[in-house]
Amino acid sequence: MRWLRRNLVVIAGLGTLAYLILPNVVVTVFSFNNPTGRFNYAWQEFSLDAWKDPCGVADLCGSLALSLQIALWATIGATVLGTAIAFALVRYRFRARGAVNSLIFLPMAMPEIVMAASLLALFLNMGIQLGFWTILIAHVMFCLSFVVAAVKARVLSMDPRLEEAARDLYAGPVQTFLRVTLPIAAPGIAAGALLSFALSFDDFIITNFNSGNTVTFPMFVWGSAQRGTPVQINVIGTAMFVIAVLVVLAGQWAGNRRKKAQPK
């Protein structure tokens, strides 16, 4: 009983961790399954077939490539625009600053399905062909507010004297921005960019409304789930998870190394 009381926090922590990880474990385990029917829902036997041929299902890798492409461009667009907006909101006093400050968070607050439907109406009324570009425009739009939120917090906490010190030490406006402002704001910008990539990559609702004939990876998964789920979906999912974990570990490793850096 005393043992339980002393270790309650650890037990609760492990329980929560298991709750978070369990879905990933199931996805990983079933990527090694060899299902008998069209559905990959019951364990049959161990097999590496799907891992040997991840693109073995028609259109799967094409949709994956498209999703990665859209996520990349949406991230770049949203990060550049969002960083500029964040700096403008913190640094400058202009008319309608208050309005912009609250409107920028509208996409975060609005139900996604409503935004998806209204975007579709907008694109149709303007006579724009649905496809890659409409998806990209929509993704940049909803990623923007997350980038602004992340960068703004960072810029707000930045001591304005640092930039004054740079200017005082012979750095012109461009040098000051590149050498001092940008590196200090970088963690906020990186957080915004990572969030954008993740949001864009797995977005389904808005994409589904505004894609026309184009099929992204989430849409492919949704579509195939109606007719049967190929094991390759689990393979892609597991691979994404492993890559994400590796990226995080690499980031931490690099951070530790920089802290322990030896004299030149």
């Binding site: 001591d159 004297r161 640092l162 004054e164 010190a165 740079a166 200017r167 005082d168 030490l169 012979y170 750095a171 012109g172 040098q175 050498r179 001092v180 590196p183 200090i184 850096a261 030896q262 004299p263 030149k264």
Partner: protein, 386 residues
């Protein structure tokens, strides 16, 4: 600019700064001689930091000009001025290590081999062996005193014509502050660069500077060597802000090379040369004397006081023993709360609260101020910063 050594004075001519309808600095003329340690002293909001920022180029003056030697720099951006600043709370670049922080200015001017100069600077500011071996620590891994030294090194490595220091010691504790005061003074003597130091701490200003400009409400109240300001304050603000002064309201009885005044029956004398205003017979005058200039004797020993000294009677209201001296507060008909500091050489057991005493001092140590000013100016701010 052909010769920087011949005349590298900082000259401010009629500079002022307005923010909307608020005037931070009233038109100001100031010449800071090359190689001097100059202090701008005043309470917060007196315009001292604004003045400093106008020299740095971080603030554009509303009127007037700033010149460094022969060159006018009023409209030059900060990165084109041969001036560097040690910022309040240092403003070290958090993403760079000590080495890169110190080398920043050199690198921006395109100098490639910086190692030797950075090492020299680390020695000059005595960052210590520790920093020499590990110049790759980040600023947040340093103590306050070390950060201070890095900030000074980062500015001085550029060999500026003028080094500006904006309350550089404000964030340090008392002991470290004393130590850094002496350090900065040593460094200034060693490099011979003009230092302009902004502070609200009158002791700091007097310890370090050759010349002190006391600022109040956007104006320079008085300018001079520390001893000169202390002995001969020309306004009540300076008298109260620099140390403590006993100010007595009196009416002028006679004038001449000596001025005689009366206050509640007591006749006091002072040299006319020590009046900041021309006294007129029958007019008012504020008579001032520093607490440590006054001697104290019990009333029954009044006959021992030499002739010709200024005398006031009173009663001890309070006394506090602080080691080297004892501070008395005297209740006198002349002035309600006179302060007297007596060195603890031979302590007189009769000088206890409630005792009747006579205060006396050399008339030469008395100064006279214009009575048409606030007698308490500068007092609040002293208490605030103490």
């Amino acid at each position: 600019m052909t010769d920087t050594t011949a005349s590298g004075d900082v000259r401010l001519a009629g500079i002022s700064k307005h923010y909307g309808s608020f005037t931070a600095v009233h038109p100001l003329d100031l010449t800071i001689p090359q190689g001097s340690f100059f202090a701008l002293l005043g309470a917060s909001g007196c315009g001292k930091t604004t003045t400093l920022r106008m020299i740095a180029g971080l603030e554009e003056p509303s009127t007037g000009t700033v010149s460094l030697g022969e060159r006018e720099v009023t409209h030059l951006p900060p990165y084109k001025r041969p001036v560097n600043t040690v910022f309040q709370s240092y403003a070290l670049f958090p993403h760079m290590d000590i080495f890169e922080n110190i080398a920043f200015g050199l690198r921006r001017r395109g100098i490639k081999s910086v190692k030797k100069q950075v090492d020299e600077m680390i020695d000059l500011v005595q960052l210590g062996e520790h920093a020499r071996k590990k110049p790759h620590k980040k600023p947040h891994q340093l103590s306050g005193g070390q950060q201070q030294r890095v900030a000074v090194a980062r500015a001085l490595i550029n060999h500026p014509q003028v080094l500006l220091l904006d309350e550089p010691l404000g964030a340090l504790d008392l002991k470290l502050r004393r130590q850094m005061q002496l350090e900065l003074k040593r460094i200034q003597t060693e490099v011979g660069i003009t230092f302009v130091h902004v502070t609200h701490d009158q002791e700091e200003a007097m310890t370090m500077a050759d010349t002190v400009a006391v600022m109040n409400g956007g104006r320079v109240e008085q300018l001079g060597a520390p001893a000169e300001l202390y002995e001969n304050p020309r306004t009540t603000f300076v008298a109260n802000f620099l140390g403590t002064s006993n100010l007595i309201e009196a009416s002028v009885e006679s004038t001449g090379s000596d001025v005689a005044v009366s206050a509640s029956g007591a006749i006091l004398r002072l040299p006319a040369a020590r009046c900041s205003t021309t006294p007129r017979t029958g007019g008012k005058l504020l008579v001032g004397v520093r607490p440590e200039k006054i001697s104290l004797v019990p009333a029954e020993d009044e006959h021992t006081i030499a002739a010709g000294r200024n005398k006031i009677t009173g009663k001890i209201a309070d006394s506090s023993f602080i080691g080297v001296s004892t501070q008395y507060v005297i209740d006198s008909p002349v002035c309600p709360e006179l302060e007297v500091y007596v060195q603890n050489i031979e302590r007189d057991a009769r000088l206890v609260p409630g005792a009747d005493v006579v205060l006396h001092w050399n008339p030469e140590h008395t100064f006279g101020l214009d009575a048409a000013q606030d007698i308490d100016a500068g007092i609040e701010t002293v208490e605030e910063s103490a």
